[in-house]
């Protein structure tokens, strides 16, 4: 007959109860008073900060959506937002902003596979990869004020592109001062500089792929396109899915440097710009309108984002 060690038996009975009751440090020991003091002192300020600047601010933002600038409760603010929606695409600054924001958002989403490709070729050490990496990363190093100044002067009718078009007998339009071209031009600018987006995070994820796995696949005769689709994508899925979720979270923040290029003129407004313009230039009288519009967009956006997140989480990630 098998005898049971009494000490193990008693531990197995009592341990779960102790684990539930007593807080512990990572090492498994119960927390001492000094540990508790440490936890409280270290977390007090960040938690208070979070309660004020996230919980209170967002709660107050919801409240403000149902108030007038005077603080009086009213549906008028919310009604003014819906009135803005009903003005149609030609007149509603908010609808134009939403349309442009969604264009930027889908562009960002569509660019992700290309960003993976860029990261892949740099990971596979394409000729001149170090120089390419630095040059592609340059836009992240330099202020938007500098880049947009260089870009807008470059495509100006009196700049190099304008001079070139004139020399070819074509009209050199004001790309950034014309409703037909302005949004397209800013979109082009974001695509032009967007190849290297997430380059560091994707590159970091690829760098962690064990070389032996890729090597054995090569020995089995895998081609580069198959390697990207069947090896690299699944192996970096953990990072990629996080980036997609974060991208979805920023759905209404998508846009280009509208402030620097057009200041919202020529139908280039985005939601980000619309909010900035209302807060900065219109001032306190527009705060409630911003909160109301924000609440409507949040109510539309959250279910979409949570659904996409659930779907993404269903795709299993590979642990290695």
């Amino acid at each position: 007959m098998e005898t049971q060690n009494p000490s193990i038996a008693s531990e197995s009975v009592t341990a779960p109860a102790v684990r539930k009751k007593k807080a512990k440090s990572y090492g498994g020991k119960p927390l001492r008073t000094m540990d508790k003091v440490f936890i409280v002192t270290m977390l007090f300020i960040p938690i208070v900060h979070f309660l004020i600047f996230w919980v209170y601010v967002n709660f107050n933002s919801i409240m403000m959506a149902f108030q007038l600038p005077t603080g009086e409760w009213s549906w008028a603010t919310m009604e003014s937002v819906f009135l803005n929606f009903s003005e149609g695409m030609e007149n509603s600054s908010l609808l134009i902003s939403i349309q442009n924001t969604l264009i930027y958002f889908f562009k960002d989403l569509l660019m992700m596979p290309f960003q993976v490709l860029v990261a892949y070729f740099l990971f596979r050490k394409i000729i001149g990869h170090k120089a390419i990496q630095v040059i592609l990363y340059m836009p992240a190093l330099i202020s938007g004020v500098v880049i947009t100044s260089a870009f807008s002067s470059f495509i100006n009718p009196s700049g190099p592109i304008g001079t070139l078009l004139t020399a070819m007998g074509m009209e050199a339009p004001e790309f950034l001062a014309n409703s037909d071209y302005a949004t397209g031009t800013i979109l082009f600018y974001t695509i032009w500089l967007g190849w290297s987006g997430n380059m560091l995070l994707l590159g970091g994820a690829m760098a962690r792929i064990p070389v032996e796995i890729l090597e054995s696949a090569r020995l089995d005769g895998i081609t580069t396109p198959k390697e990207i689709v069947y090896m690299v994508f699944p192996l970096i899925w953990n990072t990629l899915s996080t980036l997609i979720i974060l991208q979805m979270t920023g759905i209404f923040g998508a846009g280009g440097p509208v402030l620097l290029f057009t200041q919202g003129r020529y139908k280039t407004s985005t939601i980000g710009w619309w909010i900035f313009e209302k807060i900065n230039y219109t001032g306190a009288s527009a705060y409630n309108e911003v909160s109301a519009a924000g609440l409507v967009l949040t109510c539309v956006g959250v279910p979409i984002i949570l659904t996409v997140r659930k779907l993404i989480e269903k795709i299993p990630s590979v642990d290695y």
């Binding site: 900060h49 600047f53 002067s153 470059f154 807060i279 527009a286």
Partner: protein, 321 residues
């Protein structure tokens, strides 16, 4: 003479060594230099060739506007205004750079070029310093201690990160006014005390992977939790802290929108130069370009000194939870 290997007569060691030799030969045939990452054969050569051409074109188009702007910053103002977009300066006006220090300013506040630089420096130091250190504290405590509410705090931090709340900027601005921190440098300090967000997750993951045996060894020597954190654990996170400090410094130096919005009386180089261009009717463009070139120098120098650190050490995991 080489011994023949047979599945039936050879020892397992002989089979293993023979297999290893076979693999080595296959690798040699596949890649001349034996490095899978750098060697490209067959169709790969074409794929990598086409990719290289695309990369080269992209890099060229990125550099071109900057090169043109730098060239134009040496032109005399009348020569620039007369056109000749492709022509080199007839006389290289190096004085444009000294002129930038003297005449460029923020016309809305009257802040001089040196004032803009000063504002950029303190804003960058405070923002980057706090954004890289404060989340390390929350990341460490929540990953290493089990206490009531810990899982709840972690879950809330994730939810806050993944739920997009639009339009809270207005309520935020109202709060800054109520706290008397609007247009006040203290706003940067108070704003930087937030310990959650994406950076928190990175520190959380990092500290979770650090063995607690370091802390136990220090505790045997009489160290308390503060000593363990500041002298044992935090130094191990220095590479991550430095990476966030460098990238944070680059971001803060280049920031303009939040400066215009929240601290208009303390313009930095980026926001001041934007204000100069937007509010000066007859701006001297070559001098303005010289100012832009000057504003690029600190971040480019910082990057050239720390590029390997920036390029290698950031990673993120999942947001599940």
């Amino acid at each position: 003479m080489k011994k023949e290997v047979s599945l039936y007569t050879s020892t397992p060691e002989e089979l293993e060594s023979s297999l290893e030799e076979l693999r080595k030969n296959q690798r040699k045939n596949l890649h001349k230099d034996g490095n899978i990452m750098t060697s490209h054969k067959g169709a790969d050569k074409w794929i990598f060739g086409v990719a290289f051409v695309i990369f080269a074109l992209q890099c060229f188009t990125i550099i071109l506007p900057f090169a043109w702007m730098i060239m134009s910053s040496f032109k005399e103002v009348n020569e620039y205004n007369l056109g000749g977009a492709f022509s080199l300066p007839t006389v290289w006006e190096f004085e444009n750079y000294t002129e930038a220090f003297q005449s460029l300013n923020d016309p809305l506040t009257g802040t001089s070029f040196f004032g803009l630089i000063f504002n950029s420096i303190w804003y960058t130091v405070l923002t980057a310093g706090m954004a890289s250190i404060v989340p390390s504290v929350t990341g460490y405590v929540i990953s290493k201690y089990r206490f009531p509410g810990r899982d709840f705090i972690y879950a809330v931090a994730i939810v806050a990160l993944t739920i997009p709340i639009v339009g809270s900027g207005a309520a935020s601005m109202k709060l800054w006014h109520q706290l008397n921190l609007y247009d006040n440098p203290l706003r940067v300090v108070v704003g930087g005390l937030g310990g959650f967000g994406g950076t928190f997750l990175v520190y959380y993951g990092f500290f979770k992977s650090v063995s607690w045996s370091y802390a136990e060894a220090a505790e045997i020597d009489g160290a308390g939790p503060y000593t363990v954190f500041f002298q044992i654990m935090l130094p191990q996170a220095v590479p991550i802290i430095l990476t966030y400090m460098i990238t944070g410094a680059i971001g803060a130096w280049n920031e303009y929108q939040s400066i215009i919005l929240y601290q208009p009386s303390f313009p930095t180089l980026a926001s001041g130069l934007f204000n100069y261009k937007s509010n000066t009717a007859r701006a001297d463009i070559p001098v303005y370009y010289a100012g832009l070139v000057i504003s690029m120098i600190p971040t480019l120098v910082l990057f050239s000194l720390c590029s390997s650190k920036i390029m290698t050490s950031i990673s993120i995991g999942g947001l599940k939870g």
